[in-house]
């Protein structure tokens, strides 16, 4: 049998397609399997309650921010366009636009409120991520895989809280000190608060909770009816950021 150039090219193309098809099939198979095998923490519903009157006692306090950013190697970038932040403070009116009210009490008016990832029960960022580089753990933590992230920033577009940061430049030169126990990031990936999953897995509290001298941040399991967070939410009036969007934030603010 004689094979001319055209036939050879055609056969090569068909073979390549077949190999690619098998690869795709095996990847799809692996995706179906992976759910069962991956190590998962026990099912919980981690939540944070922030007691605003306590939090606002000391004006200009940044203890939680400093503790978090030091522990997680969050770079200090002065250009506000390229900032990376896991926890920061913003005016009450901007954090809670649906509470719009010109005559709001003096205790809240224009006050700087701590904000970070809400670890939503139904997170839009997880829904839109094309590579599952961000996902939700069984205990409610919205996680981030900096090694899988392709840097498309769709999660940032989807997050209604502006809680995510992108590394527009190499973050490492902007670290004043480095914590060798936590990874640094590279340019071109998205990052955010991960609720100190590395501390939770060791039975410790998130670093911001530990750092707060006023004990204004309370952390616990909402599925546990006897937890401190449940007790606080039952006793006091609480608000959440943009609850009307249905994302079910797990960060509660006592007012």
């Amino acid at each position: 049998m004689r094979i001319d150039r055209r036939t050879l090219l055609r056969l090569t193309g068909v073979s390549l397609l077949a190999v690619a098809g098998r690869k795709v099939a095996s990847v799809l198979g692996a995706v179906v399997d992976s759910g069962a095998s991956a190590a998962q923490p026990p099912a919980r519903r981690w939540a944070m309650v922030i007691d605003l009157p306590k939090c606002l006692k000391e004006e200009g306090c940044t203890k939680c921010i400093a503790a978090c950013h030091r522990l997680h190697n969050v770079p200090l970038i002065t250009d506000s366009r390229h900032e990376v932040k896991w926890i920061w403070k913003a005016p009450f009116e901007n954090v809670f636009p649906s509470q719009e009210n010109a005559y709001i009490t003096e205790t809240l008016h224009g006050k700087q409120v701590p904000v970070f990832c809400n670890h939503c029960a139904d997170p839009p960022c997880v829904r839109v991520c094309p590579t599952q580089a961000t996902w939700k753990r069984r205990d409610g933590v919205v996680m981030m895989d900096w090694h899988r992230c392709i840097g498309c920033r769709y999660c940032m577009v989807a997050c209604p809280y502006g809680s995510r940061s992108f590394n527009w430049v190499d973050p490492r030169p902007h670290l004043t000190q480095m914590n060798p126990d936590f990874p640094t990031r590279t340019k071109g990936v998205v990052e955010k608060c991960t609720l100190c999953y590395e501390r939770l897995d060791k039975g410790q509290l998130p670093a911001c909770v530990d750092a707060c001298s006023e004990k204004a941040m309370v952390f616990g399991d909402l599925d546990d009816p006897k937890s401190e967070v449940r007790r606080l939410l039952e006793a006091r009036y609480s608000i959440r950021r943009a609850p009307e969007l249905g994302t079910q934030p797990e960060i509660y603010y006592l007012v």
């Binding site: 390229h82 590579t131 498309c152 920033r153 940032m156 989807a158 209604p160």
Partner: protein
């Protein structure tokens, strides 16, 4: 390669044009290498304006790609012979446009070498995954269709029968690429500027105006530069399509304005306010927005009036205005306006940087180069002589 020999013979003018395009592409490549080493911080983007010119250009070009259906559908589904000479031009334009889309996405990635993670971890609940699937499929369909129909034409035989269902499949597929692209935007809570069910119809309407307008301009240019003339009738039919699509585009835009400003919901109004009159002293996009409105109004008037539409010189001017106005609307305002103000109410304005513009222009040059080469091949095959352009 596929009839490529037709593309490497050409006049002096042809080669000067090719080398100019290659120079622009090279400049874009150089700018991209700088972005690759420095990071996306080299652009005008920020933590508030997360997507900019790259993704906006991508969105606009998806429309140009999808608009090929406006010649494919009448010709193949309704056997409308008038479009016999322009159909292949529309399909080749689609191939160039989809390639540009892929490049615009690629240069927007923070970690471009990981881009295949999208296929390695297929995520069915992500609209970006579906966008990749639909655009990839559309590219493949159009490559197969042009390859098979043009080969048959060269051999002077009828195309094989199996190509007909492939062509018919490409019609809904074209609609799908722009629908899924609209879904990228319209399904996000908290981005109220895009949270509108008529996002996909708006995208399609403006695409079916901008794409055929470009096709008219290309046909007129080909007539000037070569001996190939598609004739007067297909251009006039395309002009009618552009007119209807432009009417729908403007109508849909007015619908958005009504819902936004009659309901007076602040979070819906702020984005339009920023674009139309500026917000808290920030008004970088106001001149752009009004350029869109004025150009759209003038071109629509000239298109609706039969006397001006039938005059080919006026029609060419109208088509330029349609294309530019919709490029502004989709390629500038629609995407960037959604980010201003940011979710926390703060306003960060956006202006692309020089490297960013160089990369965008470079990708446009890639698209123009591809279209030039494709058209050269198609016209050479069709006329049986070397087209001198």
């Amino acid at each position: 390669m596929f009839m490529f020999e037709k593309a490497v013979v050409g006049s002096r003018r042809y080669w000067i044009w090719i080398f100019c395009l290659l120079a622009v592409i090279l400049a874009g490549l150089f700018a991209y290498l700088r972005q690759l080493s420095y990071g996306l911080g080299i652009t005008g983007l920020s933590r508030d304006v997360i997507w900019g010119l790259y993704i906006a250009q991508f969105t606009f070009m998806v429309g140009v790609a999808a608009s090929a259906v406006m010649v494919v559908l009448p010709y193949y589904l309704h056997n409308y012979k008038v479009f016999a000479r322009v159909t292949i031009l529309g399909e080749f334009l689609a191939i160039s446009a989809v390639t540009m889309c892929g490049l615009f996405i690629f240069v927007d990635m923070g970690q471009p070498h990981r881009v295949l993670n999208v296929l390695l971890y297929p995520t069915l609940h992500s609209m970006m995954f579906w966008d990749m699937v639909s655009l990839g499929g559309y590219l493949l369909l159009n490559v197969i269709i042009t390859l098979v129909t043009l080969s048959a034409e060269r051999e002077d035989v009828a195309p094989p029968r199996w190509i007909k269902p492939v062509i018919l499949l490409s019609i809904p597929w074209a609609i799908s690429i722009h629908t899924v692209t609209a879904f990228l935007y319209s399904g996000l809570p908290g981005r109220s500027f895009w949270l509108t069910a008529i996002m996909a119809p708006r995208f399609l309407a403006s695409a079916f105006a901008a794409g055929p307008a470009l096709l008219i301009l290309l046909c007129l240019a080909i007539r000037k530069l070569t001996r190939f003339d598609v004739g007067r009738e297909p251009i006039q039919k395309l002009a009618v399509i552009v007119t209807y699509a432009m009417i729908l585009t403007v109508f849909f835009f007015l619908l958005e304005l009504f819902t936004t400003f009659y309901s007076r919901i602040p979070e819906d109004m702020v984005h339009f306010e920023y674009l139309l009159v500026g917000l808290q002293g920030y008004h970088a996009l106001v001149p752009w927005m009004w350029s869109f409105i004025i150009l759209a109004a003038i071109s629509l008037t000239l298109l609706i009036l039969p006397r001006t539409r039938h005059n080919e010189s006026v029609l060419a001017a109208s088509c330029i205005m349609v294309f530019v106005s919709l490029w502004i609307e989709k390629g500038v305002c629609q995407v960037i306006g959604g980010f201003i103000p940011a979710p926390l109410g703060n306003i960060t304005e956006y202006a692309p940087t020089l490297p960013e513009v160089a990369i965008v222009v470079g990708i446009w040059a890639v698209g123009i180069l591809m279209t030039t080469v494709f058209y050269k091949i198609a016209l050479s095959v069709r006329e049986g002589y070397d087209v001198a352009y």
